[in-house]
Symmetry: C2
Subunit: 460 residues, 2 copies
């Protein structure tokens, strides 16, 4: 950041300027505008950040705020007490979260600010001790503010994420069949308005309204974007809408003015694109129907996407002094043989019966997840290792003794292998899943149809 120190040689020659705090405040004041530009430069170099700041008014509104923040933070005599200082920094963090400013960009920009100010301090006439104390002030004041802002940022943005998700599920759950049909109709209405216009209704040169601002386009942009966030079908729909408005409609308008045959090729291209959008619209709604249900439709066990919520919470309870919990990782032995030999429908039936035995054996307050194809993960709450093995064995033995009746009248017997792992103080639940997985592997290695424990493996 040499340009800053060169432009504004830091530190006046008075005696007061030798005071580290005054030197720091002086440098900040002299370079405030350059520092603010430096901060926003960080944003402009980042794709997400520059999209955010592309609106000139945003920069206009934010820059004076940053300038004031910096000068107050590094002032010789900060006004106000600790309580109001903390409240102020937290309020800024909350605003950043509300305006969805990426926190890491704020941190990175602030880092550049610190480096630039530090370089100016080094270039100042402060002696070794004075420099050290000015650098110390600089770092601790800014880091202190960043901690407070960060705390508020995380709290407001996780709250925001909760509300976003609640609204998304509300919007999807609302009346998605009606919604699908009304949007299909809205799409057809738009395409009809184009065709009528081309056939001379509304005057020979009648307007060709863009699809982007039609009711369908507005829905895609403002509602579907929220309901189907990140869906590839939605991205294709968006690309098609843009293509229609930016390429196809102008070409159609041009061909109409010129008259002649190319128009029909263009309208049939339009037809194809509208059909594709209609197809993708159906896919969009179908994709959430399965995803949003909390349970696996085949086995009625919990969807594994809830794992982080449930195991994260159980780990926190166990750490805070609750009883430990035990995970069982259960896999159906030789499932591939069943599926390949007797067919998928028999495979499905086996999975459903295994799930039933598990659900009948555990307590209502335990959690059973479909973890993979033929794998289930069972979280036995407030259950130590010995009790966990007992329940695992009860499940395994029930299945061993059970004859599954198939629709064709034949019988089938299945066995399962189980790996058990009990909470061992590790705060990351993925560690415990790994242990249960390793124990399951050991049970398979030892000949299947048995329960192995993570503890036993560790000892062997």
């Amino acid at each position: 950041m040499d340009q800053i120190s060169d432009d504004h040689p830091a530190g006046a020659s008075t005696a007061a300027a030798q005071d580290p705090q005054s030197v720091l405040a002086g440098i900040a004041a002299e370079n405030a505008d350059a520092l603010v530009d430096l901060f926003y430069g960080t944003f402009m170099q980042d794709a997400e950040g520059s999209a955010f700041l592309s609106h000139a008014m945003v920069q206009e509104r934010l820059k004076p705020g940053l300038r004031r923040w910096l000068l107050e933070l590094l002032a010789s005599d900060p006004d106000g007490d600790r309580v109001s200082f903390e409240a102020h920094q937290r309020a800024i963090g909350a605003i950043h979260a509300r305006v969805r400013l990426p926190a890491h960009l704020v941190m990175k920009g602030t880092m550049f600010l610190k480096n630039a100010l530090a370089a100016d301090l080094v270039a100042s006439p402060l002696d070794r001790d004075g420099l050290a104390s000015a650098l110390g002030l600089l770092n601790s004041r800014i880091d202190d503010a960043m901690c407070l802002m960060g705390e508020a940022y995380v709290s407001v943005s996780t709250q925001g994420a909760e509300v976003d998700e609640a609204f998304r599920l509300f919007a999807i759950g609302q009346d998605s069949t009606v919604d699908r049909e009304s949007q299909r109709a809205a799409l057809m209405e738009w395409s009809q308005s184009i065709l009528f216009s081309l056939l001379g209704n509304g005057g020979a040169g009648g307007a060709l309204p863009p699809i982007g601002s039609s009711p369908f386009g507005l829905w895609v942009h403002h509602r579907a974007g929220l309901m189907f966030q990140g869906s590839p079908s939605l991205e294709t729909i968006n690309a098609n809408l843009q293509n229609i408005d930016r390429v196809l409609l102008p070409k159609i308008a041009e061909a109409r003015e010129a008259g002649g045959p190319p128009l029909s090729a263009l309208t049939s291209r339009l037809q194809t694109m509208v059909d594709e959008i209609k197809f993708l619209l159906g896919e969009l709604f179908q994709s959430v129907a399965g995803l949003e249900s909390g349970r696996d439709p085949l086995t009625r066990t919990l969807n594994r996407r809830f794992l982080p919520s449930i195991l994260g919470r159980e780990t926190a309870i166990a750490i805070k002094g609750g009883a430990p919990f035990t995970l069982l990782m259960l896999d159906v032995d030789h499932f591939k043989r069943i599926n390949d030999g007797a067919g998928h429908s028999v495979g499905d039936l086996v999975l459903r019966q295994v799930a039933d035995v598990i659900l009948d054996t555990v307590r209502l307050s335990d959690f059973v997840f479909r973890y993979g194809g033929e794998e289930f993960l069972i979280a036995l709450i407030e259950t130590n290792a010995a009790a966990g093995i007992e329940i695992a064995e009860r499940i395994r033995q029930s299945l061993e003794r059970k004859t599954l009746n198939l629709p064709d009248g034949s019988d089938w017997r299945v066995t399962v292998s189980i790996g058990a792992a009990t909470f061992d103080g590790h705060p990351d639940y993925t560690h415990l899943i790994d242990l249960a997985d390793k124990a399951l592997y050991a049970a398979k290695q030892q000949g299947r149809n048995r329960t192995a424990t993570a503890q036993a493996i560790a000892l062997s």
Copy 2:
């Protein structure tokens, strides 16, 4: 952090030690254990942090990780390239989010680490330039890592918050009537088991099973805690459960052994507490029934808790170059007179009819919220100021012309005042709500039954 520098005088006397990087790495290596303790000291002084670390195994697992991180970060020759460095720091941030370690405590602890290391550098024999460059290295390495960790932390924890909310809504939506009844039954089963045991079934000194580990207690602890997070009724239920297990049951057991009359006083106390829990349980389920619906039951307009999601998103779309949107804040004129004069049911009818007119006038893709008692907030997407005023006037005039028919055969006429504000580049949507609110106030001041705009106020 003098004790650290005193215990381990920093900087060896060799020539290599005069290199700022080696001095820094040397000080970090010599003081690693003390630094790690200092970091965890921050956590132990914080209520949330100390609860997290109270489990001895957590500290045992985390400390070596922190030690390794610090030494690698400040080493003279960091191994690996930038890509793997970034991946590593991000992985740590993700783990912190997964284990729900409060991010601000990590930042605060790291700040203390930096200060301690800086103090040791100041105490080293490095000259002014060497000191400045060692301090620069220390700060930039740690800040760099914190930025990367922070980015991953925010991303994983907001994702986690989304899944938590999805699971909460799933659990509530699941079968809450069945759930309420089964939990009521579970509570009764427990209390019956105590009474039977006191009446001599299961042997004279039959066990008195704690309610905390009964099916009902497990449900309260592991499911209700998630479904009804932060509810005061749930806190009272929890307090009652603890009171029963820690105070009442031991007293009952004691009284039973001693024999005699005090037992009946204690069992009637138990009865009262169980009744209270039963009552609170009903309240718990009732409280979510209203809260969780996305719409206001009276007017069918959107629940205002979705405001942050919707306006945050529309602001982001407008900033990223979309068309501006306009907010209308609408208030029913003299609503108090209607409510007080004609009764609440007429007031409700008026609100419902006003909502119907609004919903009939706006497009399907606009958003209408019940903002307060007789206030509605309308977000008109992709609508500039002129079009916004037009829609506001259409709503106002429809209502002015409309006669509301009351069930008693009488007629009623209502008017509304509207404040309009159009997106002006401010990234915080609360600013726009304020503007619409001020415009509404101006419309009321100017005599009601009119639309005022934020722009006009700014000019006047």
